[in-house]
């Protein structure tokens, strides 16, 4: 069974479009995260939700909006895609908010904006 899954795995789209990436975890964890990985493999946290409540909201353009319908899902919606949004986006989950808990990562979604 896949612990943390993301869809789609690859996403190629035109500038200006709106797209969503979905994340689901079946680990029973309370906390979920979205990270952006740049071309140098730096992982930068974007958002974190604990039990459907937003607890980390880093400086991310308003075009990015996370949505957590339940604690097993954290989706990322991106409006008006820009070239600089091209990156790999990782979803992760942990039992409790980060600090003492290992985060389990999804396989990543490779977004390419043309």
């Amino acid at each position: 069974d896949t612990a943390v899954s993301q869809t789609p795995k690859y996403l190629v789209t035109q500038m200006g479009n709106d797209k969503s990436i979905k994340c689901e975890q079946n680990l029973g964890h309370d906390t979920m995260y979205w990270y952006k990985q740049d071309s140098k493999k730096f992982l930068k946290i974007m958002f974190s939700y604990n039990n459907k409540e937003l607890i980390i909201n880093e400086t991310v353009p308003n075009r990015f909006s996370p949505k957590s319908p339940d604690k097993a899902h954290l989706n990322l919606h991106i409006n008006s895609l820009e070239l600089g949004d091209s990156a790999v986006y990782f979803c992760a989950s942990s039992l409790l908010p980060a600090g003492g808990e290992t985060q389990y990562f999804g396989p990543g979604t490779r977004l390419l904006v043309l």
Binding site: Y10, Y35, K40, K41, I45, F90, A98, G99, G100
Partner: protein, 113 residues
């Protein structure tokens, strides 16, 4: 498929002691990355290694990649409470940005003052 194994899973050390965390791959790697997990900040990038035998240091943390590029170690000298956290290794096996990126299982470090 690629797998990254980290050991130990957890580590409790007295302040001032040295420690080592290992990350082992089942395949030859292109790049090996070390991250630290801190509360409220998600993952923080520590170091990247790409060449066989490469060694990098930052303050009291040293990371090494073996000649075969399948194993990396993270060594902390004279540990301090500020070093506590979860250390995660990540890796890719090709330079292509569209390829799979892998994460280790994490090592939880506790430093007792």
């Amino acid at each position: 498929s690629q797998e990254l194994e980290q050991s130990p899973q957890s580590l409790i050390v007295q302040e001032g002691k040295n420690l080592t965390i290992n990350c082992t791959s089942s395949k030859t790697l292109y790049g090996l990355y070390w991250y630290k997990q801190k509360y409220g900040e998600g993952l923080i990038f520590l170091m990247m290694l790409q060449k066989g035998g490469e060694e990098k240091s930052h303050e009291k943390i040293t990371a090494k990649l073996d000649e075969k590029k399948q194993q990396s170690s993270l060594h902390i000298t004279a540990s301090q409470p500020s070093h506590a956290g979860i250390y995660l290794c990540g890796a890719d096996d090709t330079p292509n940005t569209g390829n799979q990126f892998y994460f280790g299982t994490g090592t939880s470090l506790t430093v007792i003052p």
